[in-house]
């Protein structure tokens, strides 16, 4: 039983890590998003393994169902999908790598060095008694309305604010919204932007707004 669990855990871990690595390295952003979904599924599976079924379900609903889809939409909207031949990482990606690896090492090394036996909780005294009920949505729901009521409310407010904020930010200004650009205009605009970009790398905000 334990071995099976360990094998399953290994597979899940491999899925999560592998998918995550692909997310950060994939040249195509769409692919990266798809790998991200895979990674989310792996995490959901891990939750199942950790006996948190509700969270697992929420994970799939929210992350895969909402966030990942949202990301895909965003990718579509920004229209820089392909990215083949275009650098996907920044110039100084090695610095980031160094930081990430050293952070990982800084966590891993003391963990490996300092552990005094693996941290396995002792079996409950009533080992073979009826297993305890797993904490389910009921306990969670009770927690939300008693213990964490305030936080729950705040989270709700936060979501509302984020919703409104997202709308405000993403909305085009009124003047622009009135006037839908024709394809020709949009093409010209892009050409212009491209020319500017070549002429003056590191485009400045003022340049574009002035140009319009």
């Amino acid at each position: 039983m334990a071995t099976v669990v360990q094998i399953v855990f290994g597979l899940i871990a491999a899925l999560i890590v592998g998918a995550a690595v692909m997310v950060v390295t994939a040249r195509n952003v769409i692919h990266a998003a798809l790998w991200l979904i895979a990674s989310f599924f792996g995490v959901a599976a891990l939750y199942m393994l950790l006996e948190a079924e509700f969270i697992a379900v929420v994970q799939i609903l929210v992350y895969v169902g909402a966030i990942a889809i949202l990301i895909l939409f965003a990718i579509m909207l920004t229209r820089q999908v392909t990215g083949e031949g275009v650098r996907q990482l920044t110039e100084r990606w090695w610095v980031s790598l160094l930081v990430a690896v050293s952070l990982f090492a800084a966590v891993l090394v003391p963990t490996l060095l300092n552990h005094k036996g693996w941290n396995l909780p002792a079996l409950p005294a009533t080992a073979n008694a009826t297993p305890e009920l797993l904490s389910g949505p009921a306990e969670l729901g009770r927690g939300f309305v008693y213990e964490f009521l305030l936080q729950f409310q705040v989270a709700g407010v936060l979501l509302t604010v984020a919703l409104i904020g997202a709308i405000v930010i993403a909305f085009e200004e009124r003047s622009r919204r009135r006037r839908v650009l024709t394809l020709a205009e949009e093409h010209a605009l892009n050409q212009d932007a491209a020319r500017r970009q070549t002429a003056e790398p590191g485009l400045k905000i003022t340049a574009v707004t002035d140009g319009e």
């Binding site: 995550a20 989310f40 990301i71 990430a100 904490s135 939300f144 919703l163 997202a166 709308i167």
Partner: protein, 106 residues
């Protein structure tokens, strides 16, 4: 399963996920890629929450999961706002690359 897998293993997995996400957030040029890296990091945190709640908390161990829910909520909000911003930035700068946006440069 708590007898089969030590807590440290889960935590190391979470740390690995976090670091990968960090790398992604730090080095992807595409803003959406950055956002994805951030989501990975948040997931790593969620794993930590759930695992520690599961292993170390006494019985109904709902606190860890509750926090996870909150984090997911925040992550959703963050993703929504972040993507909105990406679109807004794209609209003005005609780019979705992070390193093109350096008006803070000294």
């Amino acid at each position: 399963m708590t007898q089969a897998i030590p807590l440290e293993a889960v935590l190391v997995l979470a740390a690995a996920l976090f670091c990968i996400g960090l790398f992604g957030a730090l080095s992807r040029r595409n803003m959406v890629g950055v956002l994805m890296g951030v989501e990975l990091m948040l997931n790593a945190v969620n794993i930590n929450m759930v695992a520690i709640g599961r292993y170390l908390e006494p019985y109904p161990y709902v606190a860890g999961q509750t926090f996870t829910i909150f984090i997911i909520t925040v992550a959703a909000a963050e993703a929504a706002v972040g993507l909105a911003m990406i679109i807004a930035i794209y609209r003005t700068w005609l780019t979705s690359n992070v390193d093109s946006v350096d008006s803070l440069k000294g």
